[in-house]
């Protein structure tokens, strides 16, 4: 009854092309953002920030990046962790070597740009290799980048252990120290990035990506250049992923070693994209929430049930249940959580008078 677009007339092209054409959607999104900015800091604890909210936001951003590549452009990539590492290490090195630029916004953008450059490089084979051959080929980037950051001493500033630690984190004179500040900073970044991504995917460039995804030869024939389209998808996707990687290093971990961005990270983010929904930005958020929350819940479950188990056993059971849940979700709704959400929205439109 409440969720209905009846009576909302569009009188300008601008109004017709808004991101959320329905007033209720606009209000809802604004309310969510307002709540995230104003209400959450009122009650959030340190645990909530560092273990749930910050990972959720950062990984959502990475999932958006990967979704652009896999969901919108149809190029399956298993190298996400490597690109995140590029972003993190590029940001670290810029902050370290050019102290005047040690501003989080600048180093993050630099990390994103470097990652985009590397993404273009490793995207080149996609012009020739397709499908699962490409997916496996992107693993080359993952392993190569892992190796690079573990072995090239210059990149880690010759630290003996190979792990790097960031110093002061500040942006434009704002020292970002407490979890709440980090959270707000990341939130701002993610909101802006999401708006950018949304506008990209609904514009000309996004349509060219989708054309390539749906049938690349047909897209080529109607005039989309595969070189430019595919590489732009790789670049934009890696840019977002690189920023997410830099954030993960700077604001989530503080100090890290290459293992933080290994292949499991790639799979984790791919899971988010698939579980959330391919080709849906909302899905990236839902998938990230699912993948971040599930292991935490599974980990806490034996404690709540009052069953004493060894940590090894808990971690094995976690693997088991996690795998089973992924299969279950794929069987129930292969198009992801975003699809469930849109079904719910359709139902809501008719509710409570379905006829």
């Amino acid at each position: 009854m409440l969720y209905r677009e009846a009576g909302q007339f569009k009188t300008t092209y601008g109004a017709d092309q808004q991101i959320f054409p329905i007033l209720q959607d606009r209000l809802f999104v604004l309310a969510v953002i307002a709540a995230a900015v104003l209400v959450v800091p009122l009650f959030a604890t340190q645990y909530l920030y560092t273990e749930i909210l910050i990972p959720f936001l950062i990984l959502s951003l990475a999932a958006i990046g990967l979704n652009i590549l896999v969901g919108y452009c149809g190029q399956v990539s298993l190298g996400t962790g490597g690109f995140m590492a590029v972003g993190a290490y590029a940001a670290y090195n810029l902050g370290l070597r050019v102290p005047e630029l040690n501003n989080l916004v600048i180093v993050f953008l630099f990390g994103g740009l470097m990652s985009a450059a590397v993404g273009i490089l490793f995207g080149l084979p996609s012009l020739r290799i397709k499908g699962f051959y490409l997916a496996v080929a992107t693993l080359a980037s993952q392993f190569f980048l892992d190796w690079l950051f573990a072995r090239v001493k210059w990149l880690t500033n010759y630290t003996p252990s190979g792990s790097v630690a960031v110093g002061e984190t500040s942006a434009f004179g704002w020292k970002i120290d407490t979890p709440a500040e980090r959270y707000l900073f990341i939130l701002a970044f993610v909101v802006v990035a999401t708006v950018v991504a949304k506008n990209l995917v609904r514009g000309h460039i996004g349509r060219s990506w989708m054309a390539i995804r749906d049938m690349d030869i047909a897209a080529e024939i109607i005039g989309f250049r595969p070189l430019r389209t595919k590489l732009s998808a790789f670049a934009v996707s890696s840019f977002f992923i690189g920023i997410a990687g830099a954030m993960w290093g700077f604001l989530r971990l503080g100090s890290w070693e290459p293992l933080a961005f290994d292949i499991n990270r790639s799979f984790q983010i791919l899971f988010m994209v698939i579980i959330g929904g391919l080709g849906s930005l909302l899905g990236s958020f839902l998938g990230a929430a699912f993948i971040v929350l599930t292991p935490i819940l599974l980990n806490q479950m034996p404690g709540w049930l009052g069953v004493g188990m060894s940590t090894a056993l808990i971690s094995h059971l976690e693997f088991m249940v996690f795998g089973a849940m992924i299969i279950f979700f794929l069987i129930v709704e292969p198009h992801g959580l975003a699809r469930l959400w849109s079904i719910a929205k359709e139902k809501l439109r008719l509710w409570p008078f379905p006829h």
Partner: protein
């Protein structure tokens, strides 16, 4: 110079044979069902763990019996849930009594095998000739469960969804195997001689060092390939498998039951996983890292082509040899030139090698030519 080179080459080729074995399992499944089965590594681990625990010493089993119960409880809940789902679907479709009987028979067979293994497991270590068929039977049940519970519900989905599902299976199997059998490092003892053999001692100073275990592995792999080749070329089922691989719809229309074929394929690749697991386990010990060899088999796959059995073998040999040679001869040069903190380039070298091959032949060395039409 030639001596060490040949020694590295032979060591690499023998390791490559093991990669081939894992890649073979991938190829079988991809050929027959188009599923990119990421769970192959997990299947290798599961098979190796099962065999190692069945043949192993008895101490420490009591601890794992508790785990057994927990795993069984969780599995039982999951199975009941899925069973209910399947039953509802079956009722909705109005399937005949034949299907019902088949479901019942298979459920009973699975329960009997599981129960027998669980019962005799507590009694003591099993001789290899009992444990090996038992593990093979378990892999068969596993293949059936995967086909029935996962793949059948995902028919006609896109490749990436199926790939994700096999990732889920991989997670599940990793967790399940270790819950069931524990996560310590176990040994599989095949009773092979351990002392290295020296070949061509009169040609090279010191001769060429070869591990006998590796030779046996190569023999087993070769035997397996021959058996598979005969199976594919000469038997009725093999012919059906090739028909399905060529064209699902056409095969189905001439009366080849797809589900049965997939079951057979998954069972066969379960056996291949068992062979790979036994050999790897005997060589390196059974531990979690075995499931990561799937990642080593992937470049073999793209190099040889996803759909080619000989490709898996040749690709494995190339990758194995290339990896070892690069590590021994290229890595020190890189380390010296760029002041690196150690070599370890074998992790990515195989992928780069495969990538370079792919740029020239996008379908792999032996893959079927990709013909694209609008």
């Amino acid at each position: 110079m030639l001596g060490p080179f040949l020694e590295t080459l032979i060591g690499g080729l023998l390791t490559g044979v093991l990669y081939s074995l894992v890649a073979l399992g991938f190829v079988l499944i991809f050929k027959a069902s188009g599923v990119f089965n990421f769970a192959q590594g997990a299947m290798v681990l599961f098979a190796a763990l099962t065999l190692a625990r069945l043949t192993g010493e008895i101490d420490g089993r009591e601890v794992h019996l508790a785990n057994f119960v927990i795993a069984a409880a969780i599995l039982g809940t999951a199975l009941a849930f899925v069973g209910w789902y399947a039953w509802r679907e079956y009722m909705a479709r109005g399937g005949g009594p034949a299907e019902r009987n088949r479901m019942a028979v298979l459920a009973v067979v699975g329960a009997v095998i599981g129960g027998a293994v669980a019962w005799f497991y507590g009694k003591g270590s099993w001789p290899l000739w009992v444990a090996l068929p038992a593990t093979a039977a378990i892999m068969g049940v596993l293949a059936y469960a995967i086909e029935r519970l996962v793949l059948r519900h995902l028919v006609n989905q896109e490749g990436i969804i199926l790939f994700m599902a096999t990732l889920g299976i991989a997670y599940f199997l990793d967790g399940f195997g270790q819950t069931l059998w524990g996560s310590d490092i176990y040994k599989i003892d095949l009773g092979l001689p351990k002392a290295p053999i020296f070949l061509f001692e009169d040609v090279f100073p010191g001769g060429l060092l070869v591990e006998p275990g590796d030779l046996v592995a190569a023999l087993i792999a070769g035997l397996l390939v021959v058996v598979l080749a005969i199976f594919f070329q000469k038997t009725r089922i093999g012919r059906a498998l090739r028909a399905v691989a060529d064209d699902h719809a056409a095969a189905q229309s001439v009366g080849i039951p797809l589900n049965t074929i997939w079951l057979i394929v998954w069972t066969v690749s379960g056996f291949v996983a068992l062979a790979a697991g036994v050999i790897w386990g005997a060589k390196l010990g059974v531990q979690f890292s075995i499931s990561l060899i799937a990642l080593k088999a992937l470049p073999v796959l793209i190099l040889g082509g996803f759909t080619s059995v000989p490709g898996a073998i040749v690709g494995g040999l190339i990758i194995g040899a290339g990896e070892k040679l690069s590590e021994v001869f290229l890595a020190p040069i890189l380390v010296r030139q760029f002041d690196l903190a150690g070599g370890g380039i074998e992790n990515w070298f195989a992928y780069m090698l495969a990538l370079i091959f792919l740029l020239f032949r996008p379908q792999g060395l032996f893959g079927e030519r990709i013909i694209e039409r609008v």
